[in-house]
Amino acid sequence: MVTVTGETVLALRGVSKRFGAVQALTDIELEVHTGEVVALVGDNGAGKSTLVKAIAGVHQPDEGAIEWRGRPVIIHRPQDAQQLGIATVYQDLALCDNLDVVGNLFLGRELRRFGILDEVAMEKRARALLDTLSIRIPSVRIPIASLSGGQRQVVAIARALIGSPKVVMLDEPTAALGVEQTAQVLDLVERLREQDHGVILISHNMADVMAVADTVAVLRLGRNNGVFDKRRTNREEIIAAITGVTDNAVTRRRARGQEGSQ
C-alpha cells in the first residue's frame, strides 16, 4: 500500500501474542524502512505497547516472525534487540528509581576508563544530552525517584539515544512532556530520520503524528487496521481507522466536530 525508498530494516510477519485469556495481538504485519518514521496508532489497549515489547525482546511472540534486514531473527531477550541495534523508550519508562540520572542513562553501557566507571565523562555527556532536549533537571546526581514525570521521560528518551541504534521505538514519548520538550523530541525524531534511522513512534496525539510520520500504521483490537501513507491520507481517515470504521464512532465524531466548530 505504501512505497518507501529505504531498505526494509525491520519487518513483522504474522505476529500474535496471547496473555492468559486475552489475545493481545493477532497476525500483525509491519514494515519499517531506513529513514522512515512509522507512526503506530490505535485506541487504548489496542496492543501498541505489546507490539513494541515483542520487538524489543521483552515478550516473546507466540506466533509469527520478526525479520531484521530481511533475515528472520529470534529476539529472546532485550539484549538481543539491543545488539541488533534496536533502542526502545518504553511507555512505563522502566528506569531504576534508586540510580541517579547518569546511572540510568548509561545503564548497561557505562563509559569506562582503565576498566573503571568514568563518572566524569558520563556526567559531562549526560548534561550535554539533556541540554539538547531542553530539560531542566536540578542535578544529574539525584536519584530518578525524585524527578518529575516529564523529567523522567526525557531521561528515558535520552537513554535510547546513547547507543547508536539503527531503529528507535518510542512508545508515547511526549505523553508527559511540556510544549518545548515535545517540540525538541519531534525535532529529534526528524534528525533520526535524516540520519537514515528507522523510527517507530507511538502517540495518541494526531498533531504530532501528522507532523513527523511518513507512514501511519493503525492497530485496532490487536489487529492491523490499515497502513496509510502520510502524504495521501488525512487525520479523519486515521481516526476512523483507530476507532473502527464498522463502528459508528467516526460518524458520531464528525457530528461532534461540526457541533464543536459551530
Partner: protein
C-alpha cells in the same frame, strides 16, 4: 484555536542550554557550607551512616561507663578481631540484599568450608594452600548452585538457600563425620590469618597513613578531573575536612590497637575486603548493574543487563564471603566442629548488614554496612559479656539495645520517609 507553533517540529539552536536550575540550593564553599549542608541533610533525613555511628558511640559510652574494661585497649582490640568472621559473612549478605534477596545458607556454608579446610589440611594432610583454595572454591561453587536455582530455575532465593542451609549443614556433618571436631594446627595459614598481630608501632600507624594518603590523593585527582571537565566538583576545603575526619578516626584506631598488641592481620584483611568490594560496587559496571537489579529488575532487564548472570555471580560472591568468614571463625577457635556455622551466626550476619544501613528491599546499601553492623552487634555482645548477666537478662537487654540502635537510625530518617522516598 491556533495550533501550529507548539507541536510542529522546530529546529532548535544547539546552544539552547538552560541555565543552572535557580531552585537548586547551592552549597557555599568551605567549612561553613559544609555545616550548612549538614544542617540541610539533617532536616531532610539524609544522613547516611551517621545515625548508626551515633548509635555505636552511645552503646560504647554506656557500656564504657558501666565497666571501664569495655573501653580498654585490650577489649577493643579483641573486639576488632571478633567481628571479622561475622563481618566477612555480612559483606556477602550485603551483596545479596542489594538484589533485594536473602541468603539463609551463609551460616551452613561458612561451617562447611571451615570443615573442608580443616579436614583436608589436618586429617588428610593436603598442602594447606590447596586446602585453602579448595575450601574457598567450594564456597563459590555452592553459591553458584544457589544462584542457578534462583536465576535459571526461578525458585525463590529464600527457599533455595533455606534448603541449602539444611543440605550444606548435613554435608558438613558428613565430612566431619568420623572424627567430629578437628583441631587446626595453629601454624597453618588460616590460624595465622587470625592469630597474627603486627606488634611494631609502625604497622598500625603506617596503615593509617597509607589509607588516609590514598583517600586524599584519590579525592584530589577526582576533583581536578572534574574541574577540567567542567562538571561539579568537591571544593578543596571540603576534601581537606573529610580527610582530617578520616585521619582522626584512623589514628585513634591505630593508637588504640598499638596500646595493646598492635594491628591484627584479621582486621586489616577485613578492611581490605571492604574497600575492594566497595570499589567494585561503586566504581565498576558490575556494581552498577547489581544496584540496578535491586532497584528495578524489569528495568535492568530491559536495559540489556544479563540478569541471570548478575544474580548467579552475586550469590557466588555471597557464599564465597561466607566461606572466608567461616575460615576466620574456625581460626578464632582453632578448630572446625559440628557447631561451626550454627548458633546465631546467620541472624547476626544478616542483622549486621541491615543495621549497618543496607536495605532489605534492594538497591540501597554498601559494604561498610558490614563493618558498622558487625561493630554494633559485636559491641553489644562484648559489653554484655563484660557485664556477665544471666542469659535471660542478657537476651532482653541485647534485644532492647538492638531496637534502640535501629530506632535512632529510623528517627533520623523520618523526614526522608515523610517525603515518600524511603
Amino acid at each position: 484555536m491556533p495550533t501550529g507553533g507548539v507541536n510542529a517540529p522546530v529546529p532548535v539552536a544547539p546552544d539552547a542550554t538552560p541555565a543552572v536550575d535557580p531552585r537548586l540550593i547551592v552549597r557555599q564553599e568551605g567549612v561553613k557550607g559544609y555545616l550548612g549542608e549538614f544542617r540541610g541533610r539533617m532536616s531532610s533525613g539524609e544522613l547516611g551512616s551517621l545515625p548508626v555511628v551515633l548509635a555505636l558511640i552511645v552503646i560504647w559510652a554506656v557500656f564504657g561507663s558501666l565497666n571501664s574494661t569495655f573501653l580498654s585497649a585490650q577489649n577493643l582490640s579483641d573486639l576488632s578481631q571478633q567481628i571479622v568472621g561475622t563481618g566477612m559473612i555480612a559483606i556477602g549478605v550485603v551483596f545479596v540484599l542489594l538484589l533485594g534477596e536473602i541468603d539463609l545458607s551463609v551460616g551452613s556454608v561458612s561451617g562447611l568450608c571451615a570443615a573442608v579446610f580443616a579436614v583436608l589440611d589436618v586429617s588428610d594432610g593436603v598442602n594447606q594452600w590447596v586446602a585453602l583454595i579448595t575450601a574457598i572454591a567450594g564456597g563459590a561453587i555452592v553459591g553458584a548452585i544457589h544462584g542457578v536455582f534462583f536465576a535459571k530455575v526461578g525458585a525463590p532465593a529464600f527457599v533455595v538457600t533455606l534448603a541449602g542451609n539444611l543440605g550444606w549443614n548435613g554435608l558438613m556433618l558428613q565430612i566431619l563425620g568420623a572424627t567430629g571436631t578437628v583441631n587446626l594446627s595453629g601454624k597453618d595459614i588460616v590460624s595465622r590469618l587470625y592469630s597474627t598481630i603486627y606488634g611494631q608501632q609502625i604497622a598500625a600507624y603506617g596503615t593509617a597513613v597509607v589509607g588516609v594518603a590514598l583517600f586524599l590523593l584519590a579525592s584530589l585527582v577526582d576533583a581536578r578531573r572534574r574541574r577540567t571537565a567542567g562538571v561539579p566538583f568537591r571544593p578543596v576545603a571540603d576534601i581537606v575536612l573529610r580527610t582530617v575526619l578520616l585521619a582522626i578516626t584512623a589514628f585513634l584506631v591505630a593508637y588504640t590497637l598499638n596500646q595493646y598488641k598492635g594491628l591484627p592481620l584479621a582486621l586489616l584483611v577485613f578492611l581490605i575486603f571492604i574497600v575492594v568490594l566497595d570499589f567494585v560496587l561503586r566504581r565498576t559496571s558490575y556494581g552498577r548493574q547489581v544496584f540496578a537489579l535491586g532497584g528495578n529488575i524489569e528495568g535492568a532487564r530491559r536495559a540489556g543487563i544479563n540478569v541471570a548472570w548478575i544474580r548467579i555471580s552475586v550469590f557466588t560472591i555471597c557464599s564465597t564471603m561466607a566461606a572466608i568468614g567461616g575460615l576466620f571463625l574456625a581460626a578464632q577457635i582453632q578448630s572446625a566442629s559440628q557447631t561451626s556455622g550454627g548458633g546465631n551466626l546467620l541472624m547476626n550476619a544478616i542483622a549486621a548488614a541491615v543495621i549497618g544501613g543496607t536495605s532489605l528491599f534492594g538497591g540501597r546499601g554498601k559494604t561498610w554496612s558490614a563493618l558498622l553492623g558487625a561493630l554494633v552487634i559485636g559491641s553489644i555482645q562484648s559489653g554484655m559479656n563484660i557485664q556477665g548477666l544471666s542469659n535471660a537478662i542478657q537476651f532482653m537487654i541485647t534485644g532492647a539495645v538492638l531496637l534502640a540502635a535501629v530506632v535512632v537510625d529510623s528517627l533520623a530518617r523520618r523526614t526522608r520517609r515523610a517525603a515518600g522516598r524511603a
